[in-house]
Subunit: 651 residues, 2 copies
C-alpha cells in the first residue's frame, strides 16, 4: 500500500471527520430542471442577454435591432465604409453573373433564373442577415440536387413550365423549413453535418459536377439525367463520335486561363481580384468570340436568348399538386439543410477571423426569408456560397451593403445588359464551373483526416463515394448515419479505466496512461466516462465484473470497488437499476461498492429513486482520496479484529 | 483567493517543479487502438478467457463446452437434480399446452402449430442455451405481430397454406437474424431497447391483446384484422347484437377462476403451482363441459379438430417469393428483436438472482438455431417468455433438463392426447390469454418512471400509446427513436459546469452543486462532461464564450480559462478544430487556455493532430490544483512586473 498521505488523516479515524461533506441536497424541482435543460438546448448563447434589466423602450429598440440587424448597422453607416463595400459589391457582381448563369444550367433552369436569384435574395439578406461578409448566391451542389430530384419527377425539356413551378415550390419549402428551424432554434440539427461529412460531400459533388461539365467541354447535345459517376462517364464516352474538337480547344483554353488566374491569386493574396474577375473576363471574351466568329455554326453552342427585365412574380406558379409534391419536398428539405450547413459554417468561419459572432438560428431565419421571398420572385435556392463570400471578404467588404451593391449591379444587368450575355458559349460556362469545382476538392483535408482519425476519414469517404457513385442524398445520409452511429457507439461503449495513485501526489489517474500509477491493496478504482444509459448498462455491468474477475485472477482480492462518477453527467432509470444490480452481484461476492463524486444530475436521480439509500450515504465520497482513506481504515480495523480473534482462538 | 496550499508549493515558483509530469506518450499504433476498441465493442465480457494459456486438448474441450453448453452440464448431471427438473418440466408443460394453443390463435395459426412450437425448440435450447432457468415457448406479443404483419399480405382465412408458409419464412428470417447478430456479437443492438421501452411496449400489447380477446369472450365470429385499440373496440361494440350471453358467462367464470389462482399464488409464494396449473385446469374443465354440454351448439365455439402426430417437416414450405418476402422479412426482423430482448433480459434477470452469468451473444445463437430448426419443423417464433420462465424457476428447475421434460410431455400430447384438446372452448383460451396479459401491465413501474424520470416515462408512454393506438411497429420505433434522440441530445448538449474550490480542501467541484465552493480571481475553471464531437462543437464553443461573457459582465476579468478534460473520453476532428478555434477567439480577448488532465484517447488525438503544440505542452496540467498554482504564480509575477513598471514610470 503506497498511499502517500501528506497532510491527510492517514490511517487515523480522524480522517473521516476532516473529509468535506458530500452534497445530498434535495433534487431541484422538475420545472426548474426542464427549464434549465430547455434553455441549454435551445438558447445556449443566451441571445436575449442584452434585453435583461433594461427600460422598456430600450428593450423594444434592442429587440428590433436583434431581429432585424439592418437597424443596428445602417444608422451607424458612414461614407468611408461605402467605398470598400462598393468595390466588394462590384467584384462579387462580376462573379455572380457568370456563376448565376452556369449554376442555373446545372439545375436545368433557364440562365436568367440564375441572374434573378442574385437580385432579390441579397437584398433580403442585407436586411435580416447578421454576417458582414457573407455574399448571397446560388451554389453548385444544391443546383445539381434540385436538377436531379425535380428532374426525376418532370423532364425539364418536355415540360419546362411545370419543372420551373416545382423548382420554385422546392425553394419555398426550403425557405419554410429554414425559417421554422430558426424560430424553433433547432440549429442543433445542422450540427449533425460534421466537417468530415461536408468535406466528403463537397469533394464528391465537385468531382461529379466536373465530370458532368465534360458534356459542355466536348460539345455534346444529349446527356444522361442521372447523377452518378458511372452513368456520366458512360454518357460522355459512348458518344465520342459526337465530340466537337472546336469546343474542346476553346474549353481547354478557357479552363487553362481560369486555373492560371487562380494560381496567381493563390500565390499573391493581394491579387485576389485576378481570379475574382476572371470568370467575367471569360464570359466577355467568349461572348465576343462567339459573336464575331458565329461560333454556334462551328459546333460551339451558346446560351441563347435571355429575357430583359426584372424578376417576374412567381407566387402563382407554386405547385402543391400531391402528384409532384414529394419531389419538391425532398429537393426542398435536402437543399435546405445543405444550404444552411454551408451558409452558416461559412459565415461563422469569416466572423471568427474578425473576432465577431454569428447567431446560427438568426441566420436560419434570414436564409429562410430569403428563399421564401425568392420563391415568390422567380428565384431558386440561394445561400452564402464559399467562393463568393471569400471574394467579398478579400475585396474588403465592411457590411452587408456589399450585397446591396451586387443587387444593384444585377438590376442594371437585368434591365440593360442581359441580351449581351446571350452570346456566352456554353463551353465557357462549363470551364467556369469546372474551375470553381477544382477548388472544392480538399484532398489535403482528407489526407489530414486519414492521418488523424480513421473513422472521420471513413465518414468523409462515405460521403464522397456515396455522392459520386450512388446519389447525392444517399451519400449524405450514409455519411451522417455513420457519424451518428459512431456517436451512439460511443454512448454504448463508454471508456472505463482503472485508476492508480501517481507516486508522491494525491492524484489518481488512468494506469494505462500513467504506468507508474499504483493501486491500493484490496481496492479497485474504476473511472466511468459517460452517462449511464439504457444503451450501455449491460456493457458497464459486464465490464465492471470483468475488471473484478481480472483482479481476482491475478491474485489481488478486491474488497472495495470505488466507482469514480465525476465524468458521468447523467443516468437514466435503466442505469439506476443496473447500479443496484451491480451492487447486488458484488455484495454476493463480498465486494463493497463506493461512489465517488456523483455530479448534480446524477445525485438528484439517485436521491429521487431512493437508490442512494440502498447504496448508503456513507458509501458516497467527494474524492478518491477520501474514499481510499476510509477504506484503508476499515480494512485496517478488520485486520486488527481478525488478528485479535485469531489470538483469542489461540488462547 | 482562498487557495489552501497545505503541503503544496503555494505561490512559489518551485510549485511547478514539484508537479507530476503530464504524459505526452507517443500515441498507440492505429492497429492496436482499433483492436482494443473492437475488443471492447464486441467482446466486453472477454468470453474466451478460459481458453488462454492452456494445452491444446483442453482448449478444444473448453471451446466445445463454450459453444455447446450441454457438454458442460450433462456430464456432471446427477439423479438428485433430475427430480427437480422433472417436476418443473411437467409444470411448464401443463402451462405450455393451453398457452401454445391460445397464442397460436392470436397469430391466426392452427392451434396445433402452438403445440409443435413447444416440442422441437426446447430441445434445441437445452443443447445450446446457457441459461438454467429459461423455459422456451411462444409469446403473445410476437404472435400478435406475426398475425398482423403477415396477415396484411395474405388473409389466413382465404389462403391458409400460403399464410402458414409465410409465417415459417418469417420464423426462418428471425432465426437467421438472431444467429447472425450472435455470431457478429452485435448484442449491442438489443441494448437499444431500454427497460422503459419494454415496459411501455408490453403494457400496450397487453391492453391490445386483452381487448382483442373480447372477441372470444363475447363469442363473435367476424372481427377486424387491424391491431389498434380504436378498430378493435369498434369491432366489438358494433356487433352487440351478435354477442352470446352463454359465452360471456362461461368466459367470466374462467377469468375469475384464473385471476383468483393468480391472487393466491401472489399471496403465498409456495403456492406458485396453483396459478401455474390453473390454465390446464381451465382447459380440461372447459373441454369436459363443452364435450358433455355440446357447447358448440349453444354459442360457445370450440377449437375443433387437432391433428395427431409429431411436427411435419416444413422446409419445403419456406416461401421466398419476392411478392411476399417483404411481409415475412418485416415480421421476422421485428419479432426477432423483441424475442431477443425478452428472452435475454429474462434469462439474465433469473441468472442474477442465482449469481450466475449469461452471455447474451451466445443466447442469441441458441435462440437463432431454435428458430431456424423450428421453421423447418412447422414451428413459429419461440423465445424465453417471462411467465413460463418464472414458473420454471419457482418450480425449482436446476438445469435446462426441464425443457427436455417439457418437450417429452409435448411428445406424448401430440402422439396420444391431441384430439382431447379439440373440445377446448375458445372462450377458455381467451380467458387464459387475458389473465396472462393482466400481469404484463406494469403500472407500478410506469408510475415509478413518472416520479423518477419524466423523459423515461415519455419513452414508456410513447411505446404504450403507439402500440395501442397506431400499430406495434410504429409504437416500438417511436419509443426507440425517442430514446436514441435523447441519447443524441445528450451528446449534442453535454453538461458544462463551473468549478470552485471547496474551502479547506484541494478539491474543485461544481459551484451549483456545492455552493460554498469558491473561484479564484482571474481564473475560470470549466468542467466539460462529454466527448467533444461534431454534434456538440458549436454548443461547446458558444457555451464557453458565454461563461466568459458572464464572468466579464459581473466584473470578474478572466485571464485564464482552465478546461477540466477528465470527463472527456474522446474527441473527433471537428472537436480538435473547435478547440483551436476557441483558443484563437480567446487569445484575441487576452484569455489563455489551459487543459487539465486530458485522458489517453484525447491526448493521443491532440498529439496526432499537432493540436497540442499549438496549445503548448506547458499549458497542459495533470490536476486543477497544479494548474491553479501555475496561473497564480504567473498572475503574481505579472502583477509585480506591472507594479515595477509603474514605479519606474513614476520615477
Amino acid at each position: 500500500m503506497k498511499y502517500d498521505g501528506d497532510g491527510g488523516g492517514g490511517e487515523h479515524p480522524d480522517g473521516r471527520s476532516r473529509q468535506p461533506a458530500v452534497s445530498f441536497a434535495e433534487p431541484r424541482g422538475f420545472s426548474r430542471v426542464v427549464r434549465s435543460k430547455l434553455m441549454e438546448t435551445l438558447f445556449p448563447d443566451d441571445p436575449f442577454r442584452e434585453l435583461k434589466n433594461r427600460p422598456v423602450w430600450l428593450r423594444v429598440r434592442k429587440g428590433v435591432q436583434y431581429f432585424v440587424p439592418v437597424f443596428r448597422w445602417l444608422p451607424e453607416y458612414r461614407m468611408e465604409l461605402f467605398k470598400y463595400d462598393l468595390l466588394a459589391g462590384i467584384t462579387i457582381a462580376s462573379l455572380a453573373i457568370p456563376q448565376g448563369i452556369s449554376y442555373a444550367k446545372l439545375a436545368n433552369l433557364p440562365p436568367v433564373i440564375g441572374l434573378y436569384s442574385s437580385f432579390v435574395p441579397p437584398l433580403i439578406y442585407a436586411v435580416l442577415g447578421s454576417s458582414k461578409h457573407l455574399a448571397v448566391g446560388t451554389v453548385a451542389a444544391c443546383s445539381l440536387i434540385i436538377g436531379a430530384t425535380v428532374g426525376d419527377a418532370v423532364n425539364p425539356e418536355k415540360n419546362l413550365e411545370l419543372y420551373l413551378s416545382l423548382v420554385f415550390t422546392a425553394t419555398f419549402f426550403s425557405g419554410l423549413l429554414q425559417i421554422t428551424l430558426g424560430i424553433l432554434r433547432l440549429g442543433i440539427l445542422v450540427d449533425f453535418l460534421s466537417h468530415s461529412t461536408i468535406v466528403g460531400f463537397m469533394g464528391g459533388t465537385a468531382v461529379l459536377i466536373c465530370l458532368q461539365q465534360l458534356k459542355g467541354m466536348v460539345g455534346l447535345k444529349h446527356f444522361t439525367t442521372r447523377t452518378d459517376v458511372v452513368s456520366v462517364l458512360r454518357s460522355v464516352f459512348s458518344q465520342t463520335h459526337q465530340w466537337k474538337w472546336e469546343s474542346i480547344v476553346v474549353g481547354t483554353i478557357f479552363l487553362a486561363f481560369l486555373q492560371f488566374t487562380r494560381f496567381v491569386s493563390k500565390k499573391k493574396a493581394r491579387l485576389f481580384w485576378v481570379s475574382a474577375i476572371s470568370p467575367m473576363v471569360t464570359v466577355i471574351v467568349g461572348g465576343l468570340f462567339a459573336y464575331f466568329a458565329h461560333a454556334e455554326n462551328h459546333g460551339i453552342p451558346i446560351v441563347g436568348h435571355l429575357d430583359k427585365g426584372l424578376n417576374p412574380s412567381s407566387i402563382g406558379k407554386l405547385n402543391f399538386d400531391p402528384k409532384y409534391i414529394s419531389a419538391s419536398l425532398k429537393a426542398g428539405i435536402i437543399t435546405a439543410m445543405i444550404a444552411l450547413a454551408e451558409g452558416i459554417s461559412i459565415g461563422r468561419s469569416f466572423a471568427i477571423m474578425k473576432n465577431e459572432q454569428i447567431d446560427g438560428n438568426k441566420e436560419m431565419i434570414a436564409f429562410g426569408m430569403m428563399n421564401i421571398v425568392g420563391s415568390f420572385t422567380s428565384c431558386y435556392l440561394t445561400t452564402g456560397p464559399f467562393s463568393k463570400t471569400a471574394v467579398n471578404f478579400n475585396a474588403g467588404c465592411k457590411t452587408a451593403m456589399s450585397n446591396v451593391i451586387m443587387s444593384i449591379c444585377m438590376l442594371f444587368t437585368l434591365l440593360f445588359l442581359a441580351h449581351l450575355f446571350s452570346y456566352t458559349p456554353l463551353v465557357a460556362l462549363s470551364a467556369i464551373i469546372m474551375s470553381a469545382m477544382f477548388g472544392l476538392i480538399d484532398y489535403h483535408k482528407a489526407f489530414h483526416l486519414f492521418k488523424a482519425d480513421k473513422f472521420d476519414f471513413l465518414i468523409c469517404m462515405a460521403a464522397f463515394f456515396g455522392v459520386a457513385f450512388i446519389s447525392m442524398d444517399v451519400g449524405l445520409m450514409l455519411s451522417v448515419g455513420l457519424a451518428v452511429g459512431r456517436a451512439l457507439l460511443y454512448i454504448a461503449r463508454p471508456a472505463v479505466c482503472k485508476l492508480g495513485n501517481i507516486p508522491d501526489t494525491r492524484i489518481y489517474r488512468d494506469v494505462e496512461q500513467y504506468p507508474n500509477a499504483i493501486g491500493a491493496q484490496g481496492i479497485l478504482i474504476l473511472q466511468l466516462g459517460s452517462p449511464i444509459y439504457f444503451a450501455n448498462c449491460n456493457y458497464i455491468r459486464e465490464r465492471i465484473l470483468r475488471w473484478i474477475r481480472d483482479e481476482d485472477s491475478q491474485g489481488r482480492v478486491v474488497e472495495y470497488l470505488l466507482l469514480e462518477f465525476g465524468g458521468i453527467t447523467s443516468i437514466d432509470m435503466t442505469g439506476v437499476e443496473t447500479l443496484l444490480e451491480i451492487k447486488r452481484i458484488l455484495e454476493a461476492k463480498g465486494v463493497k461498492i463506493i461512489l465517488i463524486n456523483p455530479r448534480i444530475g446524477v445525485m438528484e436521480k439517485l436521491i429521487l429513486t431512493k437508490c442512494i439509500d440502498v447504496i448508503g450515504r456513507e458509501a458516497v465520497f467527494l474524492s478518491v482520496e477520501d474514499a481510499i482513506h476510509s477504506c484503508i481504515f476499515s480494512l485496517h480495523k478488520s485486520a486488527i479484529a481478525q488478528t485479535k480473534s485469531e489470538e483469542i482462538e489461540m488462547v
